[in-house]
């Protein structure tokens, strides 16, 4: 996988959508992602009092279906860099909105969950950068991918159990993400491969 594909953090659902629906579509990765994100962006900007959990869940469904269909393509292009940050922004935004819609008292749990996701996402970047290795596919699938997480979160929100669900996710996923990462680094330190470093453009004046 290319780094940009790793940064997407697709789960099994998006991967399947990409293979089936996506293969039949002619639209590129970036247009599909932007198109899929549009309803959710509107929902995020919509006032909380005028938004229902059902409407937010519908916007999430559109995102997963349309942006998920763009999964699995390694399209090089001038705008290929746009996709990962868009997916991150709408994913994190959707979690905040869903918690705010259902029970705002769970916002500290939402923060902790976002911090865990952030660890997961930064970890993939730093490992590609320094180890030149991507995290194994099973970790990405264990995390459900952005698509799986959002579908489960929407379902839990509709059932009124998002807050406790986030707590369970932190307890289950936290040790998996952190332990797997630490083990990979210990293995890397013991291995003979040299570390690579992010190249920086330095002026020496």
């Amino acid at each position: 996988m290319t780094p940009l594909q790793v940064y997407r953090d697709d789960g099994p659902l998006a991967a399947w959508l990409g293979r089936t629906v996506g293969a039949a579509l002619r639209l590129g990765e970036v247009p599909l992602t932007l198109l899929g994100a549009l309803p959710l962006v509107v929902a995020l900007a919509w006032p909380l009092s005028a938004l229902t959990t059902g409407a937010a869940a519908l916007a999430v469904a559109v995102l997963v279906l349309v942006a998920g269909a763009a999964s699995g393509r390694a399209e090089p292009g001038r705008f290929a860099w746009v996709t990962p940050p868009v997916l991150r922004a709408v994913e994190y935004g959707a979690f905040i909105k869903l918690v705010a819609l259902t029970d705002g008292d769970w916002m500290p749990a939402c923060y902790a969950f976002l911090a865990l996701l952030a660890f997961h996402h930064y970890d993939a970047v730093y490992r590609l950068r320094h180890q030149r290795l991507e995290p194994p596919a099973w970790v990405r699938w264990a995390g459900g991918g952005w698509d799986g997480r959002l579908v489960v979160a929407s379902a839990l929100a509709l059932a009124g159990a998002l807050g406790p669900g986030l707590l369970v996710a932190i307890v289950v996923l936290g040790p998996v993400f952190v332990a797997e990462s630490v083990v990979s680094w210990l293995r890397f330190v013991a291995a003979e491969r040299v570390a690579t470093y992010e190249d920086e453009d330095v002026q020496d004046e």
Binding site: P3, V82, P85, F95, V99, P108, Y122, R127
Partner: protein, 609 residues
């Protein structure tokens, strides 16, 4: 010590002196030095004498290389200088053999031969260089550079050096006596480090390059060199004319073979003598065009000179003696392109903490961990939820950030780059910041009765997305650069289509030399006209690029992007003076603006591309 006789081809490298200690000699780094340029008097520039005892530039360099762990040296020189260079090699601290070569084609064949024998990293360099040990150490001892060159952007240090173009830390193009370049950005300072894994590529490229400069290719080689001389002469004429009339002459006005005054004429001749046998530059072209990832180690403010006469040597020695190498090293440990707050409010004193830590023998990872611990302390203080807690948290956060700068500076100062270090630094940086957000949110609820968790969530989402923009954009550029087609070694001209006539190389010459920039409107080669959206975007990119040229606008641009130093300062100031709510609103407002700015700029660049 033995001198291999020259017999058309470079004679086989004589391994007699090394045979006894082969295991030790072959295990470490080895070096191949070219003592092939003549000084102003016609002797080898490498053997100019530094002092009354007769230490030569080459002798000093051999000592420096031995000190940096180079266990084996080959010195390539011309037949007439073989005896003198041989005496120098006999006194070298490491086994050193002399290879006699008649011309640049021989030099390159000798290089292929040595590359085929070396089993670990190989340094290829010039032997007429007077430089700080640390300048060479930056290339040799820095594990971050696997295959790379010593480079500078300074026209003074890079006098007559062949130029290269780099983007995102990777060399894209290089020039040599045979190859020309467009839009150069750096000077290649003659030292090249080749990783073990790239030695086979070096061997093959050197062999092919030798063919370019030999036999039937020789005429074409001389033709390209002659074309370069024309560009230099026309440039000299242009500069002299501009100095005389105060007006910058149009490229069309410059004669194809302009008359030069004797001083300029001598200067061009001297330049040709100093650069015509630059086999190192040929090798850099060879590696880049073979798809090798060539990175750069920067000279920074270290001393580097290629004296061409006893007078120039005396001048260079005086300048070298006036420089405090440790102070320069400490300055060089400060990251080159950093934020405004970090550069002006933290690094000026944090580097002394780094030196203190170095003298105590602390490792960067220890400092990183201390920084994280102080960050956790700041979080606890913020979480108390009182004014005193906020002020204490603000102070502790600044202390943590200082230590954060110290770890990198310590690593660069002592060249301790551990595998774990970069990751620990990155993860703890993010960890500290997001922990502090949580501390502020807890403190706000406890002490001020305001629930700001939603704002905290928005802040972490925004910051992570902002970083993701940076990471993804960089990954996209790396992908695009790696996908660039490789040019053949036999192609002298970098541009597409037939080789350009001398008159057409003027834009290149202007961009290439840059020793004396002309009037502003002449400084940039004309851009191809673009229409519609692309044209608008290209104009926008030009505008942004122009902002980079003035310090004031360059700093403004960096401050707007809200880098980590500014972010931590913003958190400290707003938290100490106001409430956590204000801190989050400030972070979201400024960060949101920064996100729009950076995404907008990059979209524009992508459209223009």
């Amino acid at each position: 010590m033995s001198i291999a006789a020259h017999s058309g081809r470079p004679a086989a490298v004589d391994r007699a002196p090394g045979a006894r200690r082969r295991a030790a000699a072959w295990a470490g780094a080895s070096a191949l030095l070219y003592a092939t340029t003549a000084d102003a008097g016609g002797g080898p520039a490498a053997l100019l004498r530094l002092d009354a005892e007769g230490t030569t530039i080459l002798g000093r360099l051999l000592g420096q290389l031995a000190d940096l762990g180079v266990r084996r040296v080959w010195i390539v020189t011309r037949p007439a200088w073989a005896d003198a260079v041989g005496r120098e090699a006999a006194g070298a601290p490491q086994p050193a053999d002399v290879i006699v070569a008649a011309d640049i084609a021989d030099d390159l064949r000798a290089t292929a031969d040595v590359a085929g024998r070396a089993s670990d990293r190989l340094i290829v360099g010039r032997s007429d260089v007077l430089a700080h040990r640390e300048a060479l150490a930056g290339l040799l001892a820095d594990p971050r550079v696997t295959t790379g060159v010593l480079a500078t952007t300074s026209g003074r240090r890079g006098r007559w050096a062949y130029r290269t173009r780099s983007a995102r830390g990777r060399m894209l193009s290089a020039s040599s006596p045979f190859h020309s370049i467009r839009r150069p950005s750096h000077f290649f300072l003659g030292f090249l480090k080749v990783d073990r894994r790239d030695l086979a590529t070096l061997e093959e490229a050197a062999g092919r390059l030798a063919e370019l400069a030999d036999g039937p290719g020789r005429a074409r080689f001389e033709e390209e060199l002659a074309r370069k001389v024309v560009v230099w002469r026309r440039r000299r004429w242009q500069l002299a004319r501009a100095a005389q009339t105060g007006l910058w002459p149009d490229p069309e006005e410059i004669p194809l073979d302009p008359p030069l005054d004797p001083a300029d004429e001598a200067d061009v001749a001297e330049r040709l003598r100093a650069t015509r046998d630059d086999a190192g530059a040929m090798l850099v072209v060879g590696l880049v065009r073979s798809g090798v990832h060539v990175s750069s180690s920067y000279l920074r403010n270290f001393f580097y000179a290629r004296p061409r006469s006893p007078e120039e040597l005396a001048e260079a020695q005086a300048e070298l003696a006036a420089l405090d190498e440790d102070a320069v090293l400490l300055d060089a440990a400060v990251k080159g392109a950093d934020g405004f707050f970090t550069t002006y409010f933290v690094s000026p004193y944090s580097k002394y903490i780094a030196r203190f830590a170095a003298r105590r023998g602390w490792t960067p990872n220890v400092v990183t961990t201390i920084s994280m611990a102080i960050g956790a302390g700041a979080t606890a203080a913020f979480a108390i939820g009182s004014r005193a807690g906020l002020i204490a948290g603000a102070v502790l956060l600044q202390a943590a950030f200082t230590m954060d700068c110290v770890d990198g500076q310590l690593a660069r100062y002592t060249r301790q780059f551990s595998k774990l270090g970069a990751w620990l630094d990155s993860i703890f940086d993010r960890g500290k910041e997001y922990l502090v957000y949580a501390g502020l949110a807890i403190g706000s609820t406890r002490g001020f009765g305001v629930d700001v968790w939603t704002l905290a969530c928005a802040a972490i989402a925004l910051q992570t997305a902002r970083h993701m923009v940076d990471f993804s954009y960089a990954a996209g550029r790396h992908e695009a650069i790696a996908a660039l087609p490789l040019r053949d070694l036999a192609e002298p001209d970098e541009r597409d289509g037939p080789p350009a006539a001398a008159a057409e190389t003027e834009a290149e010459a202007q961009a290439a030399e840059g020793e004396l920039p002309g009037p502003a409107e002449r400084a940039e080669p004309p851009e191809p006209e673009r229409r519609g959206l692309r044209g608008i975007a290209a104009a926008g990119v030009r505008f942004i690029t122009r902002l980079e040229k003035r310090p004031a606008t360059r700093w403004a641009k960096r401050i707007v992007a809200l880098p980590i130093g500014e972010r931590f300062a913003l958190i400290s100031i707003t938290a100490a003076l106001f409430t956590p709510r204000t801190t989050f609103i400030a972070l979201l407002a400024w960060g949101g603006f920064a996100a729009c700015y950076s995404v907008g700029g990059r979209v524009m660049r992508s459209v223009a591309r």
